[in-house]
């Protein structure tokens, strides 16, 4: 076990002693700070939030009356309707994007940048050892290949966790600095067991972060697998980022025509679809998606492991 800990320290040393890593970390901080500045300078206060909520409620009602909508969407609209009514009744203003919580919530959208950077690190971790030729000296140690591979994978995930914590912290600090923390006590309205309840915003934001991580973990694993199988960093980065940005679109079009699209990876990576009440294919559930993700996760890792274990090192 102490041996495994040393392996992770080695991998970390190889990640953090490189300029590129710190460039990515710097870029993430920059984006998180710049985002807050942009929101601060461009945000226009709505004249009357009550009017807007009332208008929204009316449009929900209209949609509900149309009838030919799916049951999941219908449930979703009903929930939103109840929440809006609760808002008006108890005078709870919706969370605006130029508030502490509003900015923190939108920072969850920047997780795709974390995903991109983690893909780059994961794609390099095995492929670089081959292109540098260091793989030979790495694999002639009294440590089996599976452990070495696992340490590389873990180091990439640790890097992702580090970036997530950093993103959260920088967003919170710049949000607090620019928008103030007066609104920090404002609640999040959730719909539970048929009634609207007031919850802490922090749970909502953390939930958004967690849901966005499905993509992160899956694409990192995918990039890691490609990099291990093909020993090519550029290919792994290319395939993974292409899939990350284009995959959901393609899956979306397929899902309109074919039911089997629900078994595709990208039909399941966006877990927040279940919060919006609009699953890609009618009848999909959160637990179905989690099962599918788990399956893909296992297949990717098994492939990487099998290939790495068997391969002749001729680099």
């Amino acid at each position: 076990m102490s041996n495994f800990f040393s392996l992770i320290r080695n991998e970390n040393m190889k990640i953090y002693y490189r300029f590129g890593t710190w460039f990515m970390i710097g870029l993430l901080v920059l984006v998180a700070v710049a985002g807050a500045i942009i929101v601060k300078t461009s945000y226009r206060e709505p004249t009357d939030w009550r009017k807007e909520v009332t208008a929204e409620t009316a449009s929900f009602k209209a949609s509900l009356e149309e009838g030919n909508i799916s049951k999941t969407y219908k449930d979703y609209l009903t929930q939103q309707l109840k929440i809006n009514e609760y808002r008006l009744k108890h005078d709870i203003k919706p969370i605006a994007s130029n508030t502490f919580w509003g900015y923190l919530e939108s920072s969850a959208g920047m997780i795709s940048l974390v995903t991109l950077f983690t893909i780059i690190v994961a794609a390099g971790s095995v492929a670089s050892e081959f292109s540098w030729g260091t793989i030979k000296l790495l694999l002639i140690r009294p440590t089996n290949r599976a452990k070495i591979l696992l340490s590389k994978y873990m180091a990439a995930l640790l890097f992702a966790i580090g970036l997530l914590v950093l993103l959260f912290a920088v967003s919170a600090i710049s949000g607090a600095a620019l928008f103030g923390i007066e609104t920090i006590k404002e609640p999040y309205l959730a719909y539970q067991n048929g009634e609207v309840v007031e919850k802490s915003m922090i749970w909502y934001v953390l939930q958004m972060y967690a849901l966005n991580c499905a993509d992160l973990v899956m694409m990192t694993t995918f990039a890691f697998m490609i990099s291990t199988v093909f020993r090519n960093q550029s290919l792994a980065i290319g395939l993974a980022t292409f899939s990350l940005f284009i995959g959901p679109q393609i899956t979306y079009f397929l899902a309109m025509k074919f039911d089997w699209a629900k078994y595709l990876l990208f039909a399941n990576t966006n877990l927040s679809q279940y919060l919006d009440g609009m699953p890609m294919v009618e009848g999909m559930t959160m637990s179905f998606s989690i099962m599918m993700l788990l399956l893909y996760f296992l297949v990717f890792n098994a492939l990487a492991w099998l290939i790495f274990q068997k391969r002749d090192i001729a680099a």
Partner: protein
């Protein structure tokens, strides 16, 4: 004595091509074993199989009696190696590179790292990034990582590549010392045949993936060879040789005659010359060099 390294009918196929054909050899503790062969003979491939980087198609590699293919982690503990160029992490310092490898084997202390750094003479540059190193310095760092965990078998693929003459000599002396004093078995592959001759106790020549010969360096001087006879009068001496040993090739030169003679016939010819009143001033054995032997065995510089 049990061999430290034993190859038993080792064979390697890549695709439909057989790269190594049933190679068997043994290396013992305390000896420096040269592994020679023209480009593409299969030296590096064999070394890759020994250290577990490549699967063995058939046959066995035993290190200290442990099968590398079956019990890799246990067997590899005894091995330190450089496979082809010692590529290191260029963005790390020499020290960080050593630390990296030290962490992968239990029992390598900081003191041991410092000791090895001193051994290979890198004290002054060890905290510089490897990308600023010369080829020779990288080679030294490569040797350092191979020695860190006090292996009993050292496998070095062209370790003198890129070293200056002083460096080559230093490494050669050091390897001999390791073999003599600490009883390591050392396998060295190289193209520098004169180097190998000075460094090795025994050598194997392989070609086209097949073992051609295994010999001791000492034996080289005992094979049929040229002997220079410094004699007077030269004409008469040549006559005597022709009479007594008509099948030997003779060549005259300014000092005397060169005879391609069997090792055991040297005293007989000497006696004959003396009996015929030829003045013998000197008998000089022009020992066959490893290079000549190598070219003879492999038929020149042909590549697979």
């Amino acid at each position: 004595m049990n061999p430290l390294l034993q190859l038993k009918n080792v064979r390697k196929d890549i695709g439909s091509k057989t790269i190594i054909h049933d190679l068997s050899l043994e290396v013992f503790a305390g000896e420096v074993f040269g592994f020679l062969g023209p480009n593409g003979a299969g030296k590096t491939t064999t070394i890759r199989m020994i250290v577990g980087l490549m699967d063995i198609t058939s046959g066995e590699v035993l290190i200290n009696g442990i099968d590398v293919a079956k019990n890799f982690e246990k067997a590899i503990r005894y091995v330190g190696a450089i496979v082809e160029n010692p590529e290191m992490y260029k963005f790390l310092t020499g020290y960080q590179n050593l630390l990296h490898y030290a962490r992968m084997t239990s029992g390598v202390t900081k003191d041991r790292i410092d000791e090895v750094i001193k051994l290979v003479g890198l004290e002054h540059r060890i905290h510089d990034k490897v990308k600023t190193y010369s080829l020779g310095m990288r080679q030294r760092l490569g040797l350092a990582q191979a020695l860190l965990h006090r292996p009993s078998l050292l496998i070095l693929d062209e370790p003198t590549n890129g070293l200056d003459p002083a460096g080559i000599r230093e490494i050669r002396d050091y390897l001999r010392k390791l073999a003599r004093e600490e009883g390591l078995g050392i396998v060295v592959s190289s193209h520098l045949l004169s180097e190998m001759e000075m460094m090795c106790d025994r050598f194997a020549i392989i070609q086209h993936g097949k073992l051609v010969t295994i010999e001791a360096v000492q034996e080289l001087s005992k094979q049929a060879q040229k002997v220079l006879w410094i004699v007077d009068p030269i004409e008469k001496a040549a006559q005597v040789v022709q009479e007594r040993f008509p099948h030997y090739h003779i060549q005259q030169n300014g000092q005397g005659i060169e005879v391609d003679i069997d090792y055991h016939d040297i005293p007989k010819l000497n006696a004959a010359l003396v009996a015929e009143h030829v003045q013998v001033y000197g008998i000089q054995v022009l020992a066959k060099s490893l290079e000549e032997r190598f070219l003879e065995m492999t038929g020149g510089n042909e590549i697979v």
